[in-house]
């Protein structure tokens, strides 16, 4: 059993094959995309592999500590930030191969012309607990 984070990027990933921005899709194409994503999550719930997920707004703020007694400093968003996360999903699966297969399936979500986007998703393994037996 291993947990993986699937990351969808607004930018920072290589361009997808079907590279038409979402706001240029027809309403039907957009609806088909949403349905595909919902169905994918439902299948994972049904198979007992779903842990969580959410879509994120592209608008974000950077925050940092500014010293004792001072309010935190906020800044951004920074136009030069190369990487922008669009959403995440956490899965709990039997193997790395299973995680790859699921990421591949998610990347096939339909976009313009109802064709797969072939977008690049990032797959990141969680750090788990140390095993009891190591020697």
């Amino acid at each position: 059993m291993a947990k993986y984070l699937l990351l969808k990027h607004y930018r920072g990933n290589p361009r997808p094959v079907n590279d038409v921005p979402m706001d240029e899709w027809t309403p039907e194409e957009f609806q088909a995309h949403c349905t595909y994503m919902d169905d994918f999550a439902d299948r994972l719930r049904e198979s007992g592999e779903y842990v969580g997920g959410a879509a994120l707004s592209p608008e974000g703020t950077f925050v940092r500590y500014d010293g004792e007694g001072k309010p935190p400093v906020t800044d951004g968003p920074f136009a030069e930030t190369k990487d922008l996360i669009a959403g995440w999903m956490v899965i709990d699966v039997d193997s790395y191969d299973r995680a790859l297969a699921l990421a591949g399936e998610l990347s096939a979500a339909p976009g313009a012309d109802g064709k797969p986007i072939h977008e690049w998703l990032e797959l990141r393994p969680f750090l788990g607990n140390p095993p009891t037996i190591t020697e």
Binding site: M1, G48, V51, G52, D92, L127, P130, T132, I133, E135
Partner: protein, 381 residues
């Protein structure tokens, strides 16, 4: 409630066995017994005869559930296609349940979840918390596992090796949530050992007891890993060690060596040393040779290389390590350790930093990063 939950959970597989013998299918029987268990655990007065009470209440819940129209149709269909279950003797029922829950048609993840629920009597919520997934996810995993094994019967012969693998996985999961999976694995293995005359079952029990004995010394209060050589051995649990050694010796006397017995023998030799310097490394190397002959696993050969480094010196250890596939987990960490032992602190520091990046859990990342920092800050010490 005067009955300890652990004792109640011991009864679960027996009660499931009774329901199945009376004609319930496994999945419905398991659900009914869980419901009865929850009712008993929340009752203010416990019954005198907990098993009899559980059988009565679980059977009633099973009948209630199957009386619904759709369930009745499913049952009638099943009775047409399935022969009547044969007689199952009382003592074998629990064992048969272990076999069914570890059935080879299940993925390891599913077998673990089903074993903890049907044999261990843990609730879905407890299992979900132990594996850090939502309760609904674990519920789905368990119900899918039940569907997968629904065409298999409780009295099919099973493979003890597959059961042991599942119990090993539960034990090795570590100590994450509120449920102590290591203690639960020991409890389930102990019960299996009471009913199965197979040295490897006892070998696995000994292995678990010997590792569990070191639990208090394995980590600092803030969760940092303490390597075996640096553990405060006065904090090892001597009664668990004594039991583990006794169980192992009885198993070895049967002269049917297997990988769990050999692993337990290594753990017993560590347990036997009053301090790290007294460890009988040459004998540990011999046990790793036995283990390599039994499994031919790269992990075993990696551990053997570290033992060779202790028995015959760091250079011999590095030579042994050079024969091990470098993609084996912890290969870089072992190389770092042996290079430091050989006096090359610069290489060791670099390898520890590399190993930290490749580690798969936070405690090891922290431990390896600390090792790299220690060497980088005192390079000539």
């Amino acid at each position: 409630m005067s009955i300890a939950p652990e004792h109640l959970r011991d009864l679960i597989p027996e009660v499931i066995g009774v329901l199945v013998r009376r004609g319930a299918d496994f999945a419905s029987a398991e659900d009914a017994v869980q419901e009865a268990l929850v009712q008993l655990l929340t009752a203010t007065d416990g019954p005198r005869d907990a098993k009899g009470w559980l059988v009565t209440v679980a059977w009633r819940k099973f009948l209630d559930a199957t009386r619904s129209e759709s369930a009745r149709r499913a049952r009638e269909l099943r009775q047409e296609t399935e022969p009547e279950p044969g007689p199952v003797s009382g003592t074998d029922e629990t064992l048969q349940l272990y076999f069914l829950c570890a059935h080879p048609s299940l993925t390891p993840t599913s077998a673990v979840a089903l074993t903890l629920r049907a044999v261990g009597g843990l609730t879905t919520r407890q299992i979900a918390e132990a594996y850090l997934v939502p309760e609904s996810t674990m519920a789905q995993r368990i119900s899918r596992a039940k569907r997968t094994i629904s065409e298999h019967r409780l009295d099919e012969p099973g493979d003890v090796g597959v059961v042991l693998r599942v119990l090993y996985l539960v034990f090795n999961e570590g100590y994450s949530g509120d449920v102590d999976l290591a203690a639960e694995a020991i409890r389930l293995t102990r019960r299996l050992a009471a009913g199965v005359d197979e040295p490897e079952v006892h070998g696995l029990l000994a292995l678990m007891l010997l590792h569990h004995a070191r639990r208090a010394a394995r980590t600092t209060p803030d969760g940092a890993l303490v390597p075996l050589a640096e553990q405060d051995r006065s904090r090892w649990d001597t009664s668990r060690i004594a039991e583990g050694v006794a169980v192992l010796q009885a198993a070895l006397a049967r002269d049917r060596l297997g990988e769990y017995q050999a692993q337990a023998a290594v753990a017993a030799l560590h347990a036997d040393a009053l301090d790290a310097a007294e460890t009988d490394w040459p004998q540990i190397v011999e046990w790793y040779d036995e283990l390599a002959a039994l499994t031919d696993s790269p992990v075993v050969r990696l551990n053997r290389a570290v033992a060779v480094g202790e028995a015959d010196g760091a250079l011999a250890g590095l030579a042994a390590l050079a024969q091990v596939d470098p993609t084996t987990p912890r290969h870089t960490a072992a190389a770092a350790y042996l290079h430091e032992k050989a006096g090359d602190r610069t290489t060791a520091a670099r390898l520890y930093a590399d190993a930290a990046r490749a580690a798969t859990n936070q405690a090891e990342v922290n431990h390896l990063t600390r090792q790299a920092a220690r060497l980088n800050w005192s390079p000539s010490a």
